[in-house]
């Protein structure tokens, strides 16, 4: 799985950080999301899918392979 973030779309809600704190964080100044691990291990896939699903800006795109 590869995690892609459409940064200009991010609205800094922080939902992804709550769903998958191992994979997402937020910038201090404006809250825009940061991908900490663009190729997370299988044990994190469920929480990353949850993060993508709860993103209110549809800014997280997962390439499953």
């Amino acid at each position: 799985m590869r995690v892609e973030l459409d940064e200009p779309k991010c609205v800094a809600a922080g939902q992804c950080v709550m769903a998958a704190p191992e994979v997402f964080d937020q910038r201090d100044d404006d809250g825009v999301a940061i991908v900490l691990d663009a190729e997370p291990g299988p044990e994190l896939h469920d929480s990353v899918r949850e993060a993508a699903a709860v993103c209110p800006a549809a800014a997280i795109h997962l390439v499953e392979r």
Binding site: K9, V11, A12, A13, G14, Q15, V17, M18, Q26, D28, D29, D30, G31, R49, E50, A53, V54, C55, P56, A57, A58
Partner: protein, 406 residues
């Protein structure tokens, strides 16, 4: 369960469909949407779309390939007209019937309107594109209603060089939702940015020349946007036996009847975390509720109450406003970080003895997140802030650490 029907193909309906597939549901999945467009995102309509910063294609919630992978019986531009609970069928406009074993109702809301012709509303992509075509430097726009939608559109129109009049019946915009102090701070931004904010005025009708106020005065405008709230799309459920009361009435699991669930703007459910019946018209809730009802539908023996901390954000001028929790009906507001005057602050909301919400403007996520956790944890006001103070509810510059909120 072999046939699931989702009525409503926006954020909530799509989230339900995706969750069902992700959790292994392999049966027929019918997604019915009244709009002809594939599922798209609404919050940018009053922001980047209205400002012409984005084109419509950017709003698509999923690519064609992603939708195809869900293996949907996708029916767009199709309106649901009735529900037969006993027979477990949805009747479509035109008379066809679709049978279900499980049903998700996510038909959303539509804008309230005013008497008279020719006013804009803003709910759909078509609405936003129609309004933006009419906005240009020097054009006069009257916005009726200074809630979040009206405020965002006023801000965008000012940015485009329009002459904007913002008309609001309350003395202080958003005071009923956020309290007078916060409402006043937010509305100062309109005046500083050259919007003619007129409070305490009631608009009675839209006319060819603008809007007519209740006292007879005409406010001249080239374009009128009516942003006075919305009403749930529940007419098609009338007589079905489902309870309707400002939305589809659902229980704590967001169920309206056995194997029938409500999600998104249309659903009023009992949120146990706050102990109140609520209907939330926010983008984040639509996704979360769609996901929650999908899981409850698939696992009748292991249902979970839907107990989110509601979240919304609003972009106005240079302000980013974020709020967690349930602010409506609060008893007191206290500024707990930052300063109102700089429009960088966190305001905490008390209802009874509970911390029930926070609203932040221009604050870092590290500051806001502990407050969200505190609300989710159901902490009391005194645990979060200290003993409730008598006298004026708002004080400035009190700082609270995340640990104390914990």
């Amino acid at each position: 369960m072999r046939r699931i029907v989702i009525v409503g193909a926006s954020a909530a309906g799509l989230a339900a469909a995706e969750t069902l597939r992700r959790e292994g549901y392999a049966g027929t999945l019918t997604l019915i949407g009244a709009e002809a467009d594939a599922p798209y995102d609404r919050p940018p309509l009053s922001k980047q779309i209205l400002a012409s910063q984005w084109e419509a294609e950017r709003l698509a919630l999923r690519t064609a390939e992603e939708l195809a992978a869900l293996d949907l019986d996708l029916r767009l531009g199709v309106v649901a007209a009735g529900l037969n609970l006993a027979a477990r069928t949805v009747r479509l406009d035109g008379g066809a019937e679709v049978a279900y074993d499980g049903l998700v109702i996510a038909t959303g809301v539509r804008p309230r309107r005013l008497p008279g012709q020719g006013a804009h509303v803003l709910r759909t992509l078509g609405d936003a594109l129609a309004l933006r075509r009419r906005l240009a430097p020097g054009r006069r726009l009257a916005v009726v209603g200074a809630g979040f939608l009206g405020a965002e559109c006023a801000a965008v129109a000012r940015g485009l060089g329009c002459e904007v009049t913002l008309l609001e019946p309350a003395a202080v915009p958003l005071a009923h939702a956020l309290g007078e102090t916060v409402g006043r701070v937010l509305s100062q931004a309109h005046e500083e940015n050259g919007v003619d904010l007129r409070t305490g005025v009631t608009v009675s009708a839209v006319t060819d020349e603008g809007v007519r106020l209740a006292d007879g005065e005409l406010v001249a405008a080239d374009e009128v946007l009516v942003a006075i709230g919305s009403q749930p799309n529940t007419e098609w459920l009338a007589g079905s036996g489902l309870a309707l009361s400002d939305g589809l009435v659902c229980d704590r699991y967001s169920a309206a009847a056995p194997d029938v669930y409500g999600a998104g703007d249309v659903a009023r459910w009992h949120n146990e975390l706050f102990g109140v019946s609520m209907r939330i018209e926010h983008r984040t809730n639509a996704a979360e509720q769609g996901m929650a009802v999908a899981r409850n539908l698939l696992r009748p023996g292991d249902r979970k109450p839907f107990t989110p901390v509601p979240y919304f954000w609003s972009d106005q001028y240079d302000m980013k406003i974020q709020a967690y929790g349930y602010l409506r009906g609060h008893d007191a507001v206290e500024v707990v970080d930052g300063a109102l005057a700089q429009r960088r602050f966190v305001a905490a909301y008390r209802t009874g003895d509970r911390l029930t919400g926070v609203l932040a403007v221009g604050m870092s996520p590290k500051v806001i997140r502990p407050w969200r956790s505190a609300i989710a944890g159901g902490v009391t006001w005194s645990q979060a802030i200290g003993p409730a103070k008598p006298g004026p509810a708002v004080t400035e510059n009190e700082v609270m650490s995340g640990e104390r909120a914990g």
